[in-house]
Assembly symmetry: C2
Homo-oligomer: 180 residues x 2
């Protein structure tokens, strides 16, 4: 027993987020994820009972990490009025543009939402996000605004707009604070 299955699952998930983020669900073979985690394809499949299970778990892990980021930012900016807090959270989300992985995976998950299990996971993620923002004191209108601009972040990352130095691209990226 080199390791426990639970521990393997954890590192496999971590790698899965990155690898799936690169090419999406259908375009990444399980071998790629398994190789990144240093285990065999067969074992990876068995640890999550199939490719779909692995992907869904990766999406959930992605949500987990995003929520954690936002919670950390909220804790850091505690005590501010809701307006300022929301802005801090927005900045925190925009910071993820640098990571790319988490935002990319969100987009890939969205595009596979027609698979019931994935769609459910995506909805669950946004449900949690909305609940979190409400608990932070945000109005529904502000939440909608937050999510809309979050989606804009996704576009910026997937289309690589932050690497385009043209006026039209800057119209979309301006004000989206991130260390580029």
């Amino acid at each position: 027993m080199r390791s426990t299955a639970e521990a393997r699952r954890a590192v496999l998930l971590d790698r899965a987020v990155s690898v799936f983020a690169r090419n999406g669900y259908h375009a990444t073979p399980v071998t790629a994820v398994a190789a990144a985690a240093g285990i065999s394809e067969a074992y990876a499949l068995r640890l999550f009972s199939g490719k779909l299970g692995l992907f869904v778990a990766a999406v959930e892990a992605c949500h987990e990490r995003i929520l954690a980021t936002l919670e950390a930012a909220a804790a850091r900016a505690a005590g501010q009025e809701p307006e300022k807090l929301l802005e801090s959270l927005g900045d925190a989300y925009a910071e993820l543009i640098a990571d790319r992985d988490l935002l990319l995976l969100q987009v890939h998950a969205q595009s596979v939402s027609d698979v019931p299990e994935v769609g459910a996971a995506v909805r669950a993620g946004y449900k949690r996000l909305v609940h979190f923002l409400r608990a932070a004191g945000a109005e529904d209108r502000q939440i909608q605004h937050f999510v809309a601009y979050g989606q804009l972040c996704h576009l910026i990352v997937t289309a690589g707009l932050d690497g385009v130095d043209e006026s039209w691209a800057r119209a979309l990226t301006d004000g989206m604070r991130h260390v580029s």
Copy 2:
């Protein structure tokens, strides 16, 4: 000669938008698109020199149709002040939630943007959109807002949020005007 190649290409493209919209690039076999257009797979492949060419052409057709929709809305609301005009355009875009196809394909295209040809097509689409909105008199800040909420439409459609009758989902869909 039942038909000209050009005519075939047109109907094939039309079907391709719908069929690719359903399951995305990697998950839809060319046979499905060809069948929907009533021609053989071999011929479909040859008409667009490969699956990738077909997909990119479909994405471009999608942009074409969206721009046409917006231009029509702009013509309808001509003479209004920019504020009102932008609102009309936003409504027009939200109407597409009913169609689903055009918005779904946008998301799928985004998720395959790591393929250079697709990424270029996606960027070209947004470039045209920004130029159009500028010509309509919109400020960059308004354009960014327009696109952000457009992305929110994409989320609503792909995740099927307009079919979820829960409070958190309504926080995201409220005010997005569309005939549901």
